[in-house]
Each structure stands twice: as structure tokens, then as C-alpha cells.
């Protein structure tokens, strides 16, 4: 164990965070929690690991296959948490039985993913988020969106855009075409690639030309409120209209609150759809290259834990958020500037007394003595 290479070696994807980054991260947590507490979200502290089954049930094999696993003394399979929402959902489903709905909870912490290709996504990443459980109405969707917007504003994140989508468009297409799971996966991949010609050709093989054409148009629609009008004019089935209604109502509330300029509709957005069931959103800002946060409605998750309850939530990726704030030159003042008290053995006692007084005044103090100052290696 004493070999120097082993001492300095760090497993890929693992980070030690120090200095300015810690200050920036804690400041983001504080600000977001202030907003969340303002909306009456109570913080929940979650365990670092739980039974693997919880994550497999909650998230499906996609995440459960990428966990770090180990066993307890009875041979039960445990996993480091790959996700925080599943833990919140399980807790609400099993321990909040008698409490009035909705329940508002928020949390922060790291999640662990045992990814096969190190160097791609980090194995450990920090999230901060909130869940609103037990309300299936649009005001809950809108609330979650506004909590996210308010957090971004309070953080001083500069210009940002929230892309709104809806899981209903994809799900209704899958149902209408009666796709098996392999075909569903293919449709997902084609939509996610954003290749229009491929989508049109694939749909034409499975339905009449008119239907294929209007679905292809639907998934291309993106922009402001006019998108919803255009979607309606495609004359789609009732299930599609329900999704359009959802988005229209949320947009209308945002418009009245003058928050609609942050929003952009994208009916072809399909990422994370094995998870979300209704409105979805992703937060983008220039210079980050990936979404700094995401959220949406997930009405199926709690059913996996024996409680059929609707829920909506969102989370920020803290690493990306800090990357964004740094570009905005908006990371909180980072320099530690303590008052230095120089002392040697004669006046050490006085220095301690002096330091106590200064600290009581709220100052930061560092006592420097000659004998305790060792040269760095």
C-alpha cells in the first residue's frame, strides 16, 4: 500500500474538490436551496447506498446496470446510488402514507455511475433537485418550471433557454403503430438523431403516407407558441391533442407571468423518455455544450414502489452549472482574505485572545507563527 504510485493514483472519474470550486459549489447549493425553501420544499438527506433492487425497479436496467454493487452480511445486493429521484420516490411511497398531498422535497448530493467507458461521463456527479409528488395537475408542471427559472435567475446564470417537450408525442406514436420494444428503440434512435428523411422513410414503411407525413412534421416542430397552433392543424388523434393541451396550458401561465421568453418548444425532444410521462424540459445556456438541468413529469415511477402517484421534478447538474457561472464571471467572490495575526512564543496567548475577539466580530482570522510554519515539500 505504500508504493508512491498507488498513493497518488485516483480511480478514473473520481474527483477531489477543493479551493474555489468548493466555495462556488456551496454557494450554488445555498442559492438554489433558498429558492426551493421559498417554494416550501423541505430538504431530505438520502443514503449513499441502498438495495440494488430499488434502483432496478425504479429506473429500469439502463441505470441499474451501471451501478457500483456490493453485498451486505446476509448476501443482499447493495448499490451506490446512481440516481436520487428513485430514493425520494421510494421514501414517499412507503413512508408518507397518512400525509396530505402534494409533498414537496428537495435534495443535493452525488450520484455514482459505473460506466464502461471511463473518460466519457464522470462516474461521480453532483446534483441538486426537487420533487413535487401527488399532484397530477398542470399547476404542478408549471411550478416546477418556475422553480427552475427562478433558480437560474437567482444564480445569475445570464441568458438561458428552457426547451419544453412532451413525452406524449412519442408514446402515442408507439401505441398507434403498436411497436414492439426493438422497434420502439429504433424509433427513439431515429428521433434522437433528428434525421428527418430517415424518420419519414421509417414511418412510411409502417403507416399510410399521410400519417407518416404529419407525424414527421409534428416531430420537426420547434419554436414559440405558434408551434402549438401548427401541431393542432396537423389533425392528429385525441391523445396527441392532450399533449398539446398540456404544453399550451403551461405556456399560457408562463406568458401571463412574463416568463415565456425563456421558453422554446421542441416537439421532437425525446431524451429520457423511458422515465418521463408528460411535460419535459431541459435547460441550456451558451458555452456549456450540454444541458445544465432537466426535469419533467414522471407519473409511472412511484407505481414501481407500490403507490400509484403522479410526480414532477427537476435537477441541476452542479458541475455544468459552475462551468456556466464561471463563464458568466458570476461565481461568488472566492478569495479567502483572512486577517493575519503574526505571533511568536512570547505573544501567542495575546494572539489567541485577539483572534477570539475578531472572530466574534465575524472576521476570519489566521494565526501565523514562525515555529509552526514548515516549508512545503
Amino acid at each position: 500500500m505504500n508504493s508512491p504510485t498507488l498513493l497518488s493514483k485516483i480511480p478514473p472519474g473520481v474527483t477531489y474538490v477543493l479551493g474555489e470550486e468548493v466555495i462556488a459549489r456551496r454557494a450554488v447549493e445555498r442559492t438554489v436551496f433558498e429558492v426551493l425553501h421559498g417554494w416550501s420544499y423541505a430538504e431530505i438527506l438520502l443514503p449513499a447506498f441502498d438495495y440494488h433492487e430499488i434502483f432496478a425497479q425504479g429506473l429500469g436496467t439502463r441505470y441499474a446496470d451501471t451501478t457500483f454493487c456490493f453485498t451486505d452480511s446476509e448476501g443482499g445486493l447493495l448499490a451506490l446510488r446512481p440516481d436520487l429521484t428513485a430514493l425520494v420516490a421510494r421514501t414517499v411511497a412507503t413512508r408518507f402514507g397518512g400525509q396530505p398531498r402534494p409533498i414537496r422535497l428537495c435534495y443535493t448530493g452525488e450520484v455514482f455511475r459505473n460506466l464502461q467507458t471511463p473518460g466519457r461521463a464522470p462516474r461521480e456527479s453532483w446534483q441538486i433537485g426537487a420533487e413535487l409528488i401527488g399532484n397530477d395537475r398542470l399547476e404542478a408542471d408549471a411550478e416546477m418550471l418556475f422553480v427552475a427559472i427562478e433558480s437560474m435567475q437567482r444564480l445569475g446564470a445570464g441568458a438561458f433557454q428552457i426547451t419544453l417537450g412532451h413525452a406524449g408525442f412519442f408514446q402515442n406514436t408507439v401505441t398507434a403503430l403498436n411497436l414492439n420494444s426493438a422497434e420502439t428503440q429504433t424509433l427513439f434512435e431515429i428521433l434522437d438523431s433528428r434525421n428527418q428523411q430517415r424518420l419519414l422513410a421509417w414511418l412510411q414503411d409502417r403507416t399510410n403516407p399521410q400519417q407518416a407525413e404529419s407525424w414527421t412534421r409534428l416531430f420537426q416542430l420547434a419554436g414559440g407558441a405558434e408551434v402549438l397552433e401548427a401541431a393542432r392543424n396537423l389533425g392528429l388523434e385525441a391523445d396527441f391533442s392532450a399533449a398539446i393541451d398540456d404544453l399550451e396550458h403551461v405556456w399560457e401561465i408562463a406568458r401571463v407571468l412574463q416568463l415565456d421568453h425563456f421558453l422554446e418548444l421542441d416537439l421532437g425532444e425525446v431524451s429520457n423518455l423511458d422515465y418521463y410521462t408528460g411535460m419535459t424540459f431541459k435547460i441550456y445556456a451558451a458555452g456549456v455544450g450540454a444541458s445544465v438541468g432537466s426535469g419533467g413529469r414522471y407519473d409511472r415511477l412511484l407505481r414501481n414502489f407500490g403507490a400509484d402517484e403522479p410526480a414532477v421534478g427537476f435537477q441541476f447538474n452542479l458541475e455544468r452549472m459552475i462551468c456556466l457561472l464561471r463563464q458568466q464571471k458570476n461565481s461568488p467572490s472566492t478569495a479567502l482574505a483572512p486577517t493575519i495575526l503574526e505571533a511568536d512564543s512570547d505573544n501567542l496567548l495575546a494572539a489567541f485572545q485577539n483572534a477570539q475577539q475578531l472572530r466574534n466580530q465575524g472576521k476570519q482570522v489566521e494565526i501565523k507563527t514562525m515555529r509552526h510554519s514548515l516549508a512545503p515539500h
Binding site: 433557454q161 433528428r194 420547434a222 458555452g287 455544450g289
Partner: protein, 210 residues
């Protein structure tokens, strides 16, 4: 402005040609030799020329908004990006090839096949899906000589005409995937620069009229 990463080498000239056809006026020839990046005269685009395998990395991380590269490097690195357009040029195939007698060894499920390739991820996935145990030997060039020197039983590589394979006495056992040049787009850029992107994609389409 959209930053566009282009792949050096095999696709380079055809990519420049297609951009020209799409109405982009830029001194692309200066890339790689004199300049790190060039802008087009309209100031809408900035171009970088990088190694093909690096294009998906630039785009996934958002250093470039758009990339043009072969489907072979996309399959190898599986970047988390959109792939909205097949440009149609640069057609070739990713194949498994080897000396004629090696195919018998492939059918023997107990033997471990040695595979030399520039595409270790593609090769691993292909053989794992077929339950064939393999030892991947990653090489960076001249892959086709590996079987001749006894370094590997077969290779996974791209072939355009197949002439190099024939010259080296190799035969194609299976096609893994057809390959053409593709446009890939960063996910955040797709949302934040949608208008400019859709204009570029329409201009780059193989059937676009100019």
C-alpha cells in the same frame, strides 16, 4: 456563429467540395497548414480541421457546434450528439476481413479470435453480439498487414473498393455497417442555434439545389 469541425484525410476534399456547393465561401485550403481555423466571408461559420476520430469529441463537448465525419468514427466513439444528415459521399463499408482459412476459425466457438483494428469498440461489440470470444489488437494504421504477419486472425476495417484487401490476399467475411459522411450536431447548439443550423443542414443536403 457556428463552429464546424471537419475531418482531415479521406473525407477532406469531398467535404470542402460539398461546403462550396452549399454556398460557403472560405479559404478552407488554408486549414491544417497555415491556419488553426478559418471563417467564411459571411461571418456565419468558423471551420476547424481535425483528425477524424476527434470530430465527435469536439462536437460532444460543444467546442464545435457541428461536425462532419464518417459514420465509422461515430460508431466507434458513440458520441452523445444528434446526427441529422447523411451527406451521401465518402461511401465505404466497415467489414470483417481475413485470410481465407481464418473464417473456419471464426466458426469454432471455443477458439479465441485475434482481431487487429483501428475500431476496437466496433469490433468488440460486433463479436460480443455473436458470442465469439476475441482478443482485440488495437492498431493505428496499415491494419491489413496484421494477418499476413501473423499478428491477428482477422481485421475490422473500412474498405472502399476492396483493392487493398485483394492485394494483401484478404477476403471480406462480413459487412458490419455501411459508412458515409454524416453531419453531427451538439445537443445544446441544436437548441440554442436552431435557426442557423437548419439553414446549414438544408444547404448541405445532397439533393439541395444551388
Amino acid at each position: 456563429m457556428l463552429t464546424i469541425a471537419l475531418a482531415k484525410g479521406r473525407l477532406q476534399e469531398k467535404t470542402f467540395e460539398r461546403l462550396k456547393k452549399a454556398g460557403v465561401h472560405a479559404d478552407l485550403g488554408a486549414l491544417g497548414s497555415r491556419r488553426l481555423s478559418v471563417e467564411d466571408t459571411s461571418g456565419k461559420y468558423s471551420f476547424l480541421l481535425v483528425k477524424p476520430g476527434d470530430v465527435p469529441i469536439y462536437v460532444e463537448h460543444g467546442v464545435a457546434d457541428v461536425g462532419i465525419c464518417g459514420r465509422d468514427v461515430i460508431l466507434e466513439s458513440q458520441p452523445d450528439v444528434h446526427e441529422p444528415l447523411d451527406l451521401g459521399f465518402g461511401a465505404c463499408r466497415l467489414v470483417v476481413a481475413g485470410k481465407q482459412d481464418a473464417i473456419n476459425q471464426g466458426h469454432n466457438l471455443l477458439s479465441r479470435l485475434k482481431v487487429a483494428t483501428k475500431y476496437p469498440q466496433v469490433a468488440t461489440r460486433y463479436f460480443h453480439e455473436r458470442g465469439t470470444p476475441v482478443e482485440i489488437i488495437p492498431l493505428t494504421g496499415s491494419v491489413e498487414i496484421a494477418p499476413l504477419l501473423g499478428l491477428s486472425d482477422c481485421i475490422v476495417d473500412i474498405v472502399e473498393t476492396g483493392r487493398t484487401l485483394v492485394e494483401n490476399g484478404l477476403v471480406v467475411f462480413d459487412t458490419i455497417a455501411p459508412v458515409t459522411a454524416r453531419v453531427i450536431v451538439n445537443r445544446a447548439s441544436f437548441q440554442l442555434q436552431r435557426k442557423g443550423l437548419l439553414i446549414l443542414l438544408a444547404a448541405l443536403e445532397p439533393s439541395a439545389e444551388h
